[in-house]
């Protein structure tokens, strides 16, 4: 069950997930710098399940490295119930469009650093 099911499929973008481990490590370091202070509400809870490190063994996909559009699309679909989920449907319903947009933009920016 390393596929991560529909969640990984929905969120993964080829190419992005292929970055080297060293590159990702550097991203994590920069993500934890001064820019982290502007983390939008809710975003800091995500890393409880979505690992910052690419070496953690988990079916939940990493968020750093995903595009804002892919995160927004997935969250909207889970919120409306149009995409099946295990847990994310229940969590997505707690966030407004604006909140989701801000969180998605923040994770995209971490990947761009």
């Amino acid at each position: 069950m390393k596929s991560g099911g529909h969640m990984a499929a929905a969120l993964s973008r080829p190419g992005i997930v292929m970055r080297s481990a060293i590159g990702l490590l550097l991203l994590c370091v920069s993500a934890s710098g001064a820019g982290a202070a502007e983390m939008p509400p809710g975003a800091s809870s995500c890393t409880g399940c979505h690992a910052a490190s690419p070496t953690v063994d988990t079916p939940a996909p990493r968020l750093v490295g995903l595009s804002a559009a892919s995160i927004e699309d997935a969250m909207s679909a889970w919120r409306s119930g149009s995409r099946p989920a295990t847990v994310m449907d229940r969590i997505a319903k707690g966030f407004s469009d604006a909140e989701i947009k801000a969180i998605a933009a923040w994770y995209e920016a971490q990947g761009a650093k």
Binding site: S32, G42, G48, S53, T86, I91, G94
Partner: protein, 419 residues
């Protein structure tokens, strides 16, 4: 240690002038964190990540942390204790100074913490993440000595292994009795996950044995999911709720007997999950109220009772948020951001927090409850329409997926907090 001690005394000597400074410059701020569990280690590391110039000292007596989540699997023989254990090397690598000792006194007015070795730490802000302590004696007959015969195993470690050894040593045909306390307590679904896994262990290893779970409540977390699983899988498990006489009034460790208002159960193995309170240092700091828990501001996690002291994790009264490792970690990150904002004279932003708690019913069978929270009415409130439990009707593949997500969560959060 000597280098660290001398550095401390130098800073302690300089502290009077720091306190007198009208505003806290980022470079000189000192945050002290008491408790190195999921909450304390998370807040210490988050502070260093958000503002590397802040000095952060964490006070924790144990050199090795033993995690509670997944410790029920250790009891059932599905996992070994070392998989639950973490050193503080990762926390130290983040630039957090760690004092491996107890905090013995807190002077909130002077903003000073005294450690067991007599060292005095001064702080700009203090974060307490002391977890729980057992209310010894709140259940008649259940004191610390009794817990050596009737383990609580509600703090992971030797108690976890004691309960496992007792189950392993029990002859087939024996009776196991568990008791669950009234709310609030650490890990609301925990007693029911444990009952499931012990029932699974008995069913597979000692099929003539039986488990009775005596409960001081009629309702509990993920109740319909647990009860559905029990009725399908575990005829050897009997749950007795409050209204059926499940409230335990006393125990006798010498005879391994557990007494309710209606009956006395004589068992071969007894697991008492006793009444709890915030870790004792909370009382010394003056941040716990008559309930034994710590009321907090839902935006900053600052104590309602003492300024400049924040309380996170199991010890806090967090409204709808449960006492879980996930919640402690989420609160820690919000608290760290709020402290950094306050040190810079900025208004902390209104947070959103998430909790997800998985329970393992048996191998490849996981269920969950999730919630999303925001400040409201002075507490953290559920955001309406969000959260809830796994579906009651679901294929085996969903239960398997949640069991895999549970382990993935454990791997993720322990890496973030201790890795």
């Amino acid at each position: 240690m000597s280098a660290s001690l001398s550095r401390r005394s130098l800073l302690a000597g300089a502290s009077a002038s720091l306190i007198a400074a009208p505003a806290v410059a980022q470079g000189t701020a000192h945050i002290v964190v008491i408790g190195g569990g999921f909450g304390g280690s998370s807040v210490a590391r988050s502070l260093k990540q958000l503002a590397p110039n802040i000095r952060v000292t964490m006070v924790e007596p144990n050199r090795v942390f033993t995690a509670c989540p997944f410790s029920n699997e250790v009891i059932a023989g599905l996992r070994d204790l070392p998989a639950q254990q973490f050193t503080y090397d990762g926390v130290a690598r983040s630039g957090v100074e760690i004092d491996f000792t107890h905090a013995s006194a807190i002077d909130a007015a002077a903003k000073r913490v005294t450690l067991a070795d007599g060292t005095v730490l001064t702080y700009d802000r203090l974060v307490l993440s002391p977890g729980i302590d057992i209310r010894w004696g709140a259940l008649r007959g259940y004191d610390e000595a009794a817990s050596a015969r009737m383990p609580h195993a509600w703090k992971a470690g030797e108690q976890t292994m004691l309960l496992r050894r007792q189950l392993e040593a029990m002859e087939d045909g024996g009776l196991v009795v568990m008791s669950a306390p009234d709310n609030p307590f650490r890990c609301p679904p925990g007693p029911y996950e444990r009952a499931s896994l012990i029932a699974w262990y008995l069913k597979t290893k000692k099929p003539k044995s039986k488990l009775i779970l005596l409960d001081a409540k009629d309702n509990f977390s993920k109740q319909r999911l647990f009860q559905q699983a029990w009725s399908q899988l575990f005829p050897n498990l009997e749950w007795i709720g409050l209204s059926k006489g499940g409230k335990v009034s006393s125990v006798d460790a010498n005879t391994l007997s557990v007494t309710t208002d209606f009956e006395t159960y004589k068992a071969q193995v007894v697991n008492i999950i006793p009444p709890q309170r915030a870790g004792l240092i909370a009382e010394a700091a003056g941040v716990s109220d008559r309930s034994g828990w710590c009321p907090i501001d839902p935006v900053t996690f600052e104590s309602r009772l003492q300024p400049n002291i924040h309380v996170i994790g199991d010890a806090a009264v967090a409204g709808a948020m449960p006492k879980s490792a996930f919640a402690a970690n989420a609160q820690a990150k919000v608290c760290a951001a709020a402290i950094v904002a306050l040190l810079h004279n900025r208004t902390p932003q209104e947070p959103r927090l998430i909790n997800t708690c998985y329970s393992i019913v048996m191998p490849d069978y996981g269920i969950s409850v999730a919630g999303v929270y925001k400040p409201g009415k002075g507490l953290l409130m559920d955001i309406e329409g969000a959260g809830g439990t796994s579906p009651l009707q679901a294929p085996d593949s969903t239960r398997k997926m949640e069991a895999d997500l549970a382990l993935g969560w454990y791997n993720t959060i322990t890496r973030e907090v201790f890795g």
